[in-house]
C-alpha cells in the first residue's frame, strides 16, 4: 500500500486571506452532509442519533474503507443524507482512512457526490488536540458546523469553553452537544435544515506541518477561554483495578471465561427454544404437502437445513452483544494493552488483539476490524490468522460430535466436564495455530520494521442500549442473510442429488443416488483421516460455510432408511469411529471452509492470491492434523 503524501502539507495551505473557506455559500440548502472527526469522539453515536435506523453500510469503490450513509431522521421538508466518514485526526493521507476522508471532502471519490456541508465532531474534553483537524476541513471551502461533543462530561468535570469566542476565531458556527443524551442535537438539525450557509471570512495563520497545527490548536483553545476538565476520576480509579499488576490479568481472564461461558449458559437454552419453535413451525407449514420429491426437497432439505443454522443465532447474538459491551465501555482497549506482550512475541502488537477477539464470533467482521491496524503487513498477518480463531460457525459441528462421542462427566468438579474440556481444547488448538502462523509470517514474508505501538485509552463509558441494539440487529441480519442464502442453495442441490436419478419413477437408494456415487468417489482421499463417504460430502458442502455440514448430515441420514429414525447424534455415533470423530474436529479447527471469509479477504487485500494461499495453507494443515489425529488415536486406542 502506498500512501500518497500530496496532502501532507495541507495544513499550511490554509490561506491567510480567508477566501478559500468563506466563498462557497450553499443557497439551495444541504442535501448531502459529511461527518468527520477523530476516533473516540462519539461520531458514530451522533450519527446513530441523527439518522435513527435509516442507514446503510457500503464500501467506497476500489478501496477497502467502509462508509455508512443515513437519512436525517424526522420528516420536515428536504431529505438530508448524512455520510459518516472514517475516524481521522487530520487529512494528511497517512492511512487509507485519511485518504478516503480527504477524497470524499474534495469531491474526488468516484461515485460519491461531493458533500454540501461538513459536521466536524470532536471530544470537548480533549479540545486542544482535536482542534487540529479544523484547518484541513476549512480548506475544502465547504460550510462547516463544529460540534463539541461530550458536553455533559466537560461540564461534570469542571471544564469550560467560550463558544462565542471559538466561533468568532474560526468564522464557523459551533455547537456544544451530548450525542449520548441527545442534549443540543437540535442545533445540528437546525444547521442541516437551514436554507443558506456561509462560513464567515476569517484570517487563519499559515501553518507548516503537524507540529505547527498542534501548536495552533492549543493557542486557539487558549484564546477561547478553554479550561480543560479535571482528569476522569472514575476512569483513573477503574484503571487502578483493571490495569492493576495482580487484579488486571485476573479480571482479564475472568472476562474471557464469562464471555465464552455466556455463549453456552445464555445462548444454548435460547437456541434449544428456537429449535423447538422452528420444528413446530416447519411441521405446521409443510403439513399440507403430500410426501414426495418436492416435500423432501423443501421440508427435509431446505427447511431442516435452514433451521439447523438459524438455531445458532442466539449464541452468535450473545457473543456479539458481549463484544460490543466490551468495546463500547472502553475495556477492550485495556485488554489490548495486556495482550500486547503475547502479540509482540509473534511479531504483532496489541492492536491485533481486538480483531482476533471478534473473530471468536465471526471472522468476517474481525477481518474488517483489522483496518484499524496502520501497518499494512501487521494488518495482513492479522487477516490471515483470524480464521483460525474458533468462530461461532464451528459450534454446530463441535457440539454435535462432542455430544455424540464424549460422555458427560466432571474433570474438574462442577466447573469443567469432559465435554467442556474437549470444547476448550478445540479453542486452544485454533489459537495456537493462529500464533504459530503469525510467527512464521512475521519472521518471513511479512517481516516489517517495528512501528511504534501507540494506543489512546478511551474513557470508560456505559454502553448505550441504542448502539447495542443497532449493532446486534445488524449482525443478526448479516448472519441470517449470508448463511441462509448459502444453505438454501446447498440444501436444494443436495436434496435433488440424493433423490436422483429416479429408478422406475421412485427415488433410488442413497448409495445409488448422484450424491452417493460422488461421495464414494472421494472416499479414498479421506479414508486415511477416518472419514467415510458421508463425511466426505459434508466436507464438500461445508466449503461454503462450516455450519452447512450439520445440515448436510441431517439431509444424508434423513435420506437413509436405516438411520432415518435415529437422532443425528446416534446416527453419527454408529457411523464413525472415535478416532475419526476426533480427526473431524481437528479438521474443522484448521480448515478454511467459509466463502464469506474468502470473499472478504479478497476485498480487503485486493487480490485473489491471499485468500487462495490461505485456503490451501489451512486445508493442508487441516488434512495433516486430521491424519495425525486419526493415526495416533487408532494406534493407541486399540
Amino acid at each position: 500500500m502506498t500512501f500518497p503524501f500530496q496532502r501532507q502539507a495541507s495544513c499550511h495551505e490554509v490561506t491567510s486571506n480567508g477566501n478559500n473557506h468563506g466563498s462557497s455559500p450553499s443557497t439551495a440548502g444541504i442535501r448531502t452532509c459529511a461527518i468527520i472527526g477523530p476516533p473516540n469522539s462519539g461520531k458514530s453515536t451522533l450519527f446513530n442519533r441523527l439518522t435513527a435506523l435509516r442507514q446503510k453500510v457500503a464500501n467506497y469503490p476500489g478501496v477497502t474503507v467502509e462508509h455508512r450513509t443515513g437519512m436525517l431522521a424526522g420528516n420536515t421538508g428536504r431529505e438530508v443524507m448524512l455520510v459518516d466518514l472514517p475516524g481521522v485526526y487530520d487529512l494528511t493521507a497517512y492511512s487509507e482512512d485519511e485518504r478516503v476522508a480527504a477524497e470524499v471532502l474534495h469531491g474526488e471519490m468516484p461515485g460519491v457526490a461531493r458533500p454540501d456541508a461538513v459536521l466536524i465532531v470532536m471530544d470537548a474534553t480533549n479540545l486542544e488536540r482535536h482542534l487540529s483537524i479544523v484547518p484541513d476541513v476549512l480548506r475544502t471551502g465547504l460550510p462547516v458546523l463544529l460540534i463539541l461533543n461530550m458536553a455533559d462530561l466537560l461540564e461534570k468535570r469542571g471544564g469550560q469553553v467560550n463558544l462565542v469566542k471559538l466561533a468568532g476565531q474560526l468564522g464557523v458556527p459551533v455547537a456544544l452537544v451530548s450525542a449520548a443524551s441527545g442534549k443540543g442535537i437540535d442545533a445540528i438539525e437546525n444547521f442541516l435544515r437551514a436554507d443558506t450557509h456561509k462560513n464567515g471570512r476569517h484570517e487563519l495563520p499559515v501553518l507548516h506541518g503537524p507540529i505547527a497545527c498542534q501548536r495552533w490548536a492549543r493557542q486557539l483553545a487558549g484564546a477561547s477561554d478553554y479550561r480543560a476538565p479535571l482528569p476522569a476520576e472514575w476512569t483513573r480509579r477503574l484503571d487502578g483495578v483493571l490495569l492493576h499488576r495482580v487484579w488486571g490479568p485476573l479480571v482479564f481472564l475472568l472476562v474471557l471465561v464469562v464471555l465464552f461461558q455466556a455463549v453456552f449458559t445464555i445462548g444454548q437454552p435460547l437456541s434449544n427454544g428456537l429449535q423447538n419453535v422452528l420444528n413446530n413451525l416447519g411441521n405446521l407449514l409443510f403439513s399440507w404437502m403430500r410426501v414426495g420429491l418436492l416435500k423432501s426437497i423443501l421440508f427435509d432439505g431446505v427447511w431442516r437445513g435452514l433451521s439447523s443454522i438459524l438455531v445458532f443465532l442466539p449464541q452468535i447474538l450473545v457473543l456479539f452483544l458481549f463484544i460490543t459491551i466490551l468495546e463500547d465501555s472502553g475495556y477492550l482497549a485495556r485488554a489490548a494493552l495486556m495482550a500486547d506482550r503475547t502479540m509482540q512475541r509473534v511479531g504483532l502488537n496489541g492492536k491485533s488483539f481486538v480483531p482476533l477477539l471478534s473473530a471468536y464470533a465471526c471472522a468476517v467482521p474481525a477481518i474488517m476490524a483489522a483496518r484499524t491496524i496502520e501497518n499494512r503487513r501487521d494488518r495482513l498477518a492479522t487477516i490471515l490468522i483470524a480464521p483460525f480463531m474458533t468462530c461461532s460457525a464451528r459450534l454446530p459441528i463441535y457440539t454435535l460430535v462432542i455430544a455424540a462421542f464424549i460422555p458427560e462427566g466432571a474433570v474438574f468438579g462442577p466447573l469443567l466436564g469432559y465435554r467442556g474440556a474437549a470444547m476448550l481444547g478445540l479453542y486452544v488448538i485454533g489459537f495456537l495455530a493462529a500464533l504459530f502462523t503469525a510467527a512464521i509470517l512475521k519472521s518471513s514474508i511479512l517481516k516489517s520494521s517495528p512501528m511504534p505501538f501507540i494506543l489512546e485509552l478511551p474513557e470508560y463509558r456505559w454502553p448505550t442500549l441504542r448502539s447495542m441494539a443497532i449493532r446486534s440487529a445488524d449482525r443478526a441480519w448479516v448472519f441470517t442473510k449470508n448463511a441462509g442464502s448459502v444453505i438454501v442453495i446447498v440444501a436444494t442441490v443436495l436434496a435433488l442429488m440424493a433423490n436422483l436419478p429416479l429408478v422406475g419413477g421412485a427415488p433410488p437408494g442413497l448409495h445409488q443416488s448422484v450424491i452417493g456415487r460422488l461421495g464414494h468417489s472421494i472416499e479414498p482421499i479421506i479414508e486415511p483421516l477416518g472419514f467415510n463417504w458421508r463425511v466426505g460430502i459434508g466436507l464438500v458442502t461445508s466449503v461454503f460455510a462450516r455450519e452447512v455440514i450439520v445440515g448436510t448430515f441431517g439431509t444424508l441420514y434423513g435420506a437413509d432408511p436405516a438411520a432415518r429414525n435415529l437422532t443425528l447424534q446416534t446416527a453419527l455415533h454408529k457411523d464413525l469411529t472415535a478416532a475419526g470423530a476426533a480427526a473431524l474436529l481437528v479438521f474443522f479447527a484448521f480448515a478454511m471452509q467459509c466463502t464469506s471469509t474468502l470473499a472478504v479477504v479478497k476485498r480487503e487485500t485486493n487480490s485473489w492470491s491471499w485468500p487462495a494461499a490461505q485456503f490451501l495453507y489451512m486445508g493442508a494443515l487441516a488434512y495433516i492434523g486430521a491424519l495425525a489425529t486419526n493415526l495416533l488415536l487408532s494406534h493407541f486406542c486399540h
Binding site: F3, Y89, D90, T92, Y94, T125, N126, E128, R129, S132, G209, P210, I211, Q214, R215, A228, P229, P231, T235, R236, D239, G240, L243, H244, R245, V246, G248, P249, L337, M338, A339, D340, R341, T342, Q344, G350, E374, P450, M451, P452, F453, I454, L455, E456, L457
Partner: protein, 90 residues
Amino acid sequence: MPTIWASQGNCTLGSSLSDLSVGETGTVQEIHLEGKLRSYVTRFGFVEGAAVSVIRQVPLGSLRVYRIGQAEIALRPETAEQIRVTRTDT
C-alpha cells in the same frame, strides 16, 4: 541538526520518557523520530514543550500509560526512549 544526548548518569537533560518513573512528570524536549513516525506521535500530542506524566505500568508486558494533555496514551519502551524529556519537579 543531530543532537547527541548523553545518557550517562546524572545528566538530567539527557533523560528519555522511559527513564521517568511512575508518578513523575516531564516536558518534551525533542523527538528522535523522522518523517511518518514523527507525525504519527505528534498527533497524539507528543510535541516539544508538552507536559507528560507517567500514569502506570501495564501488567503482563512492558507498556506504560502516559498522560499528555487530556489524553492517556500507552507506549512501548522502545518508542518512549526516542522522546527526550526534562524532569519537572513536582
